[in-house]
């Protein structure tokens, strides 16, 4: 060990300043780890040339088709000890809770087999153990796996998922995010570990419309908590809030910010909510955390199709289930069924390298809904069609369907 460290004048500039420095961390690792010596060298080389020098390849563990991100250096001749620098993507516990014990255990494994560099977490939620040689991958995985951890997703597969802290420490949480995360995602382990979908598929679970998991834009299927009865208002706490902050503060920061202006400060310093027009945006609740709460009849809204830029530009998910309960085992089974139908339909109908959102954009929401067996609902749209360019024979049958649903 203790190979001579390369000069890194540019990286060194990143050791100053108040934010924790990854460079300092890398250098510390490099003291006992030759891979990190050359990794620093290659990185400095990137800084100088403004270019990346990694290429992909194929590396895996026995039994799985994905979950490792292989990296081979294009400048291995200069930096031979970091010629291979793969990443193990490991799924985190739902909600990203850790005991220090398990973290230490992870560090020990990683010290033994890998570079010692780890990220909590990747943008998809994986614990990323970064920097390992091909020949050590299996052993490292085996140890993590024995600890109760499993590889995450990569390639055209169901991906590692994230759930917000939710029920564990958030009063806004409208369903058990950790349970849903595990129940749903664990159903699709085969689709995660053996990539065979047209492209990646991501789930994300946020306990309320604040959407701390960014699920609306970063998940193919977003499961977001909400409620369908009246918001809970503790008028005594409202009065206390008004007393401490003043009426003007409440007018300026609560009522006038309501997107539908459905919440009103009354003369007696209580709040009046027109719940029919509340769109569950969370704003007033966010401001008055003690006085206001989501209602008691809670569940989720499901949106499909969020993703980032590739091919047609960023997409948000779109509502396919305006509301469903998520409490009983049957509720969970129903959600699992919707997920399964979605993935099946995606597998059969998406083009290669096409995300769910792009597929829906291409075939139209209605065809997608029909494909997964969900009924149209005005809550799925901002407003009805403006273009008359559509063929509407079959109107009567469709109208009859709606009338039946309304009656039933």
């Amino acid at each position: 060990m203790a190979k001579q460290i390369h000069d890194t004048p540019m990286l060194d500039q990143l050791e100053s300043g108040p934010w924790p420095s990854f460079v300092t961390g890398l250098k510390r690792l490099a003291k006992d780890n030759d891979m990190m010596v050359d990794l620093l060298g290659q990185l400095e080389h990137s800084y100088e040339t403004r270019k990346g020098f990694w290429k992909g390849g194929t590396v895996g563990v026995f039994g799985y088709g994905g979950g490792i991100i292989p990296r081979f250096s294009e400048v291995a001749s200069k930096f031979p000890d970091s010629a291979e620098f793969h990443t193990l993507r490991i799924q985190p516990p739902a909600g990203m809770h850790y005991s220090t014990a398990v973290l230490r255990q992870m560090c020990d494994v990683w010290e033994k087999h890998g570079s010692g560099l780890v990220a909590f977490h990747g943008q998809s939620g994986d614990i990323m153990f970064q920097g390992i040689r091909t020949d050590k991958v299996q052993a490292a995985f085996d140890e993590f796996n024995e600890m109760g951890f499993d590889l995450g997703g990569a390639g055209p597969a169901v991906r590692t998922s994230m759930s917000c802290i939710g029920h564990a420490r958030c009063e806004q949480s409208c369903y058990d995010t950790a349970r849903a995360h595990r129940d749903i995602v664990n159903t699709f382990m085969d689709d995660m570990h053996r990539p065979a979908l047209p492209y990646k598929f991501k789930f994300k679970f946020s306990g309320c419309p604040n959407d701390c998991m960014n699920s609306v834009q970063r998940a193919d299927m977003a499961v977001i908590g909400t409620w369908c009865d009246d918001m809970q208002v503790d008028q005594a706490e409202v009065k206390a809030f008004v007393a401490s902050r003043g009426r003007q503060y409440v007018l300026d920061n609560v009522t006038t910010r309501c997107p539908t202006k459905c919440i009103r400060l009354k003369d007696d310093d209580t709040l009046d909510v027109d719940n029919r027009n509340c769109v569950r945006c969370m704003h007033c609740i966010n401001v008055m955390t003690k006085a206001l709460k989501p209602g008691k009849d809670r569940g989720v809204t499901v949106l499909i199709g969020g993703k980032r830029t590739l091919k047609i530009g960023d997409l948000f998910g779109t509502v396919v289930v305006p509301f469903m309960k998520l409490e009983s085992q049957e509720d969970m089974d129903r959600l699992r069924e919707i997920a399964q139908n979605t993935i099946d339909f995606f597998a059969e109908n998406a083009l290669e390298h096409e995300r769910t959102g792009e597929m829906i954009d291409r075939i139209g929401l209605v065809n997608f809904l029909e494909g997964i067996g969900l009924e149209v609902d005005p809550r799925m749209i901002d407003y009805p069609r403006v273009s008359s360019y559509v063929r509407m024979d079959g109107w009567d049958e469709e109208a009859a369907k709606w009338n039946e649903r309304k009656a039933g």
Binding site: L315, L365, M380
Partner: protein, 356 residues
């Protein structure tokens, strides 16, 4: 040809010669207005001069006897000048306040409803229909007459939340504009092609180019050059019909009416908005189109009851949300209500903003 008279390309006539003298005098110098009663606008100029404009409905498609009758009234009460509004209402400018009521009485006696101002249902935008157009799926004069009969009470009163501008169009080209409510044609079957005529009457490349979904291709039928339509692709829009009349899109049964809600061109409060589909599959039933009229009346009824003052149809629906609109009007929501062109992704609900 020597005797042919070359035209004088005079263009738009100067209106000053035809303008009521009071308006001419105070041109660009008006200060404020109010509406003393439905059908009457009262404008006051910076100069202090005042004018009362009395608005009356017409059938737009007027026989010259009707026009002359209106002229007689104008001579008697309004110093010989009139103004037509964009909605074919006629306005008489009265400078002597005491003439307002007699003028109204006269108009009513002659069968011209007085109203259409402010928050009333004003005259419907009128198109051609069977009376004159070469491509209509329905009539215009008859549709407008039928509806205005039904809405007469709302024309002569100002009891709506805000002004209501209705439009009709007699084919899917839609010469009628956007409307708070628009009653349009919606074909539901592809054109039936009279192959014998295509070769002579239609420039085939033009027709092929006109189809918005590229459903038409040139074809040889019975040995003659003709066209064929991919019926799977065809959206039954009728765009092929004007350049190629043998592509018969109009059908007594399958050309239906559809109703659209919430169009608005004014910038007041929100930006201009297109109207949205709310109902379709409505039979095209002359002479009184009762099924369409019933839906229009239902929508107006709910709007009148539920909207706040100054809310146009679009503002109102925006406040209550579309799900509630369908609930209140009891109109069915179907897959056809979901738009499906590429940019339509912007119309999908990409949020958890939902009313329950």
């Amino acid at each position: 040809m020597a005797e042919m008279r070359p035209p004088i390309e005079s263009g738009v006539p100067d209106p000053f010669q035809y303008m009521h003298p009071m308006l001419r005098r105070n041109y660009g110098q008006w200060k404020w207005h109010d509406r003393p009663r439905p059908g009457v606008l009262h404008h006051v100029a910076e100069s202090g001069e005042e004018v009362w404009s009395v608005r009356a409905g017409t059938q737009r498609q007027m026989d010259l006897y009707t026009v002359r009758k209106l002229c007689d009234i104008g001579d008697e009460y309004a110093e010989g000048f009139v103004h037509f509004t964009i909605r074919s209402n006629i306005e008489f400018m009265v400078t002597d306040k005491s003439k307002v009521d007699p003028l109204i009485a006269k108009l009513q006696a002659e069968g011209f409803p007085v109203g259409g101002t402010g928050n009333s249902v004003t005259m419907i935008a009128h198109t051609q229909g069977w009376l004159h157009c070469d491509i209509p799926g329905t009539d215009a004069s008859g549709v407008v007459k039928s509806l205005m009969d039904e809405l007469h009470a709302e024309f002569i009163r100002e009891e709506m939340p805000n002004r209501v501008h209705i439009t009709t169009s007699c084919c899917q080209i839609n010469c009628g504009g956007q409307g708070d409510i628009a009653i349009n044609i919606q074909h539901t079957k592809p054109p039936k092609i009279n192959h014998d005529l295509v070769g002579n009457v239609c420039e085939r490349p033009t027709v092929v180019a006109r189809c918005p979904v590229a459903a038409i291709r040139p074809a040889v039928v019975n040995g003659k050059p003709s066209l064929e339509v991919d019926e799977k692709k065809c959206i039954c829009c009728g765009a092929c019909y004007p350049p190629c009349p043998p592509m018969q899109i109009n059908d007594p049964e399958h050309s239906k009416l559809s109703i659209w809600v919430g169009g608005k061109n004014s910038n007041a409060r929100g930006k201009p908005q297109f109207h949205k589909l709310v109902a379709a599959g409505i039979p095209n039933n002359p002479p009184r189109w009762t099924e369409a009229a019933a839906i229009v009346k239902k929508i107006l009824h709910v709007y009148k009851k539920d909207a706040k003052d100054w809310e146009r149809m679009a503002d109102w629906v925006e406040r209550i949300g579309w799900p509630r609109f369908f609930e209140l009007t009891e109109l069915p929501f179907t897959k056809f209500h979901i738009d499906n062109w590429r940019g339509a992704r912007n119309t999908l609900n990409a949020s958890t903003h939902i009313r329950f």
